[in-house]
């Protein structure tokens, strides 16, 4: 029976990624200057390391293209796992970083903690999460801002 050449092997994608990164680093290294043996330039060591992971990335591509059957597909990596939670957590963390200095530590922390505590619970009540988030925000502010003296952003509350 003929094999479908489905190009979604995880290692094939990895190989493409590393080869691409290697090409970028190689071009940049030449731009920076390789120098001479007597005086290696700033691009010398990056070039050497880029060649290593670029060549090996190419080896990954070639060895996977030659395969008759695909052992690991990219979709299989996220089968039977709650990947949407990961996406939501990552997005909320980037939003937290953005809001951190804009609205201040306390408000940003209370908001994101509410969301993170909520994301793994399936109930209609929000009060436990809001209460927990407020406690975490205040306790952590005391620990980091007061006891450890870290200068947390004041933001809207000016605290």
């Amino acid at each position: 029976m003929a094999q479908r050449m489905v190009k979604n092997s995880a290692d094939l994608l990895s190989g493409l990624f590393w080869t691409g990164v290697s090409l970028f680093v190689t071009v940049e290294s030449f731009r920076l200057g390789i120098g001479t043996g007597h005086n290696p330039g700033p691009g010398f060591v990056p070039l050497c390391s880029a060649v290593i992971f670029g060549v090996l990335g190419f080896v990954l591509i070639v060895t996977n293209i030659q395969k008759k059957r695909w052992e690991r597909r990219i979709a299989d990596l996220w089968k039977h796992v709650e990947w949407k939670k990961v996406v939501w957590v990552v997005l909320s963390l980037f939003l937290y970083a953005f809001l951190f200095s804009k609205i201040g530590y306390l408000l940003a922390t209370a908001g994101v903690m509410t969301f993170l505590l909520r994301i793994t619970r399936r109930s209609k009540m929000w009060i436990p999460e809001i209460a927990g988030a407020l406690m975490i925000a205040l306790a952590s502010y005391f620990l980091f801002g007061v006891l450890m003296g870290i200068q947390l952003p004041k933001g809207l509350l000016d605290l």
Binding site: E28, N39, V81, V89
Partner: protein, 506 residues
């Protein structure tokens, strides 16, 4: 006699109230981190590294080292009670430890793990004291070519001994070296790979990178799991092993201590490999190997002794040569640099308080761990019951604040998050983070020693082969590199032959 004088000096440093307090804090946090499956010692060390900025270097290293070897004690608790390793070096303890717990012998399992760890940790420290000083004296003969060769050998060994694909480990190590080049080139004054961002002129920070790769990515991998672990419902009693338990375990403890110590010295060896090899050794030499996997006490005593002894051994290359042998040592290496200390053979001469103070604090820490661990087990059991959905937001918060506090910069937080996502994807695609971190930490040293060597030799690469120590180091590295490819090709050939045989049968 000189060693005893130095140890006495070390204890005078280690027993200072501040150092004693932070040793206690370190081992307690380490045990907690070892108990909790969601975060390992590297993640904890990276999160707490900013907190050490206001401490003296000695106190900072004492606390961070305490986290490292404390986590070895804590990891066995979760392995035995939940069948989930608290950290990687306790994976093997699950096999027999959990079986012992199911047979109502959780107490003796936990007890032999704690006592074995203490004995092995102490023996490991004796080895550290005996080997460190002559090693530091020998390392004074090293010049830039020798250091370059040693770093190449260390990186090669780490990738060769990695648990997953060697090819992927080499790629990660090389990428780590590339990442270490980001920022201002110290010699030419040019910015490299900074994308015109002023924040990247200082390069990628060690703390955001480590927190992202090991803290954030670990959390992301854990929250996508659909099941949560359950603690075995068993009565915890009789933590002191019986005379019969000691008779069975004593050989395993002794062998584990020796094996762990020497593997800990080896770059890429460390606690994980030593625990696996110890288990394999005990099973191989046992009179009744079929007892293993069914509650054999040697299966707990050996690996737990080996991983503790390895922690002591792993300090030798860091303190004497300035080369970290594993990822936790890389974090300590970074901490020493942040505190203005240069690890290497001059550390003993220039900072004897740090050298002997850390060693003595490890003795003190081992005693504290033995005293704390067994009585506190009921507390650790309660800690294990904290749902992960409550724990992971706290871990993320610590990571964010930790990154921010370095320079009061949101940019570092963003870098940490980017590497967190990358670390998660690397894990999914089976790329290990440890070679990347080691390449990142050793990259600047590698470049500096390469350049200095080429200046010495007026541009000739032959300097690496005309200096005997450098030649030996590079030759071994080359042999390992070539043999790993032969191994990979051999595996592929075997796989292809199996497929052909299966195809013929069909």
């Amino acid at each position: 006699m000189e060693i005893l004088n130095n140890l006495a000096y070390g204890f005078s440093v280690g027993l200072q109230p501040t150092n004693l307090l932070f040793c206690f804090v370190g081992v307690l946090l380490g045990t907690l981190v070892g108990v909790l499956p969601g975060i390992g010692p590297v993640g904890a060390m990276s999160i707490l590294l900013p907190a050490t900025y206001h401490m003296s270097p000695v106190t900072a290293i004492i606390m961070l080292a305490g986290i490292y070897y404390g986590s070895m004690y804590g990891g066995s608790t979760t392995s035995i009670l939940v069948n989930i390793p608290g950290e990687a070096a306790s994976v093997v303890t699950c096999l027999d430890g959990y079986e012992m717990a199911k047979q109502g012998r959780a107490g003796p399992a936990l007890g032999i793990a704690a006592f074995g760890s203490f004995i092995a940790g102490t023996l490991g420290l004796v080895g550290l004291v005996l080997f460190a000083v002559p090693m530091a004296a020998f390392a004074l003969r090293f010049g830039p070519p020798e250091y370059f060769a040693l770093i190449v050998l260390g990186l090669t060994l780490i990738t060769y001994l990695s648990q997953g694909s060697i090819l992927k480990a080499i790629m990660m190590g090389a990428f780590g070296i590339t990442l270490s080049c980001v920022g201002l080139d110290q010699i030419h004054g040019e910015t490299r790979f900074s994308f015109d961002l002023m924040e990247l002129w200082d390069g990628v920070g060690l703390v955001p990178l480590a927190m992202g790769m090991f803290g954030i990515s670990e959390v992301l991998c854990n929250i996508e799991k659909t099941s949560s672990p359950e603690i075995l419902k068993t009565k915890l009693k009789d933590f002191f092993p019986t005379a019969s338990d000691w008779m069975q375990a004593k050989g395993a403890i002794a062998r584990g201590s020796l094996l762990g110590f020497f593997l800990g010295v080896l770059p890429g060896g460390g606690t994980v490999m030593s625990s696996f090899l110890s288990y394999g050794l005990e099973k191989r030499i046992a009179k009744q190997p079929d007892r293993f996997g069914k509650g054999a006490i040697e299966g707990v005593a050996g690996p737990e002794s080996a991983n503790n002894s390895a922690t002591a051994g792993s300090f030798i290359p860091l303190l004497t040569l300035g080369i970290p042998s594993n990822i936790s040592m890389a974090m300590l290496f970074g901490a020493l640099l942040i505190h203005g200390m240069r690890p290497g053979p001059f550390l003993l001469k220039d900072h004897p308080d740090l050298f002997w103070g850390v060693i003595s604090s490890m003795y003190i820490g081992n005693v504290l761990l033995l005293i704390l661990n067994l009585p506190l087990i009921p507390i650790w059991v309660r800690v294990l019951k904290i749902p992960y959905r409550v724990l992971f937001p706290l871990i993320l918060l610590f990571c964010v604040v930790g990154s921010y506090s370095l320079k009061n910069s949101v940019f570092d937080v963003v870098i940490m998050l980017i590497f967190g996502v990358m670390g998660y994807l690397f894990r999914k695609f089976q790329f290990e983070g440890a070679p990347l971190m080691l390449g990142f930490v050793l990259g600047p040293l590698l470049e500096k020693n390469l350049r200095q060597s080429l200046i010495l030799s007026k541009g000739s690469f032959l300097i690496f082969f005309t200096r005997p120590l450098a030649a030996i180091g590079l030759s071994i590295a080359l042999l390992l590199f070539i043999s790993s490819f032969i191994f990979i090709l051999g595996q592929k050939k075997t796989k292809n032959l199996r497929h052909e045989a299966r195809g013929a049968r069909q």
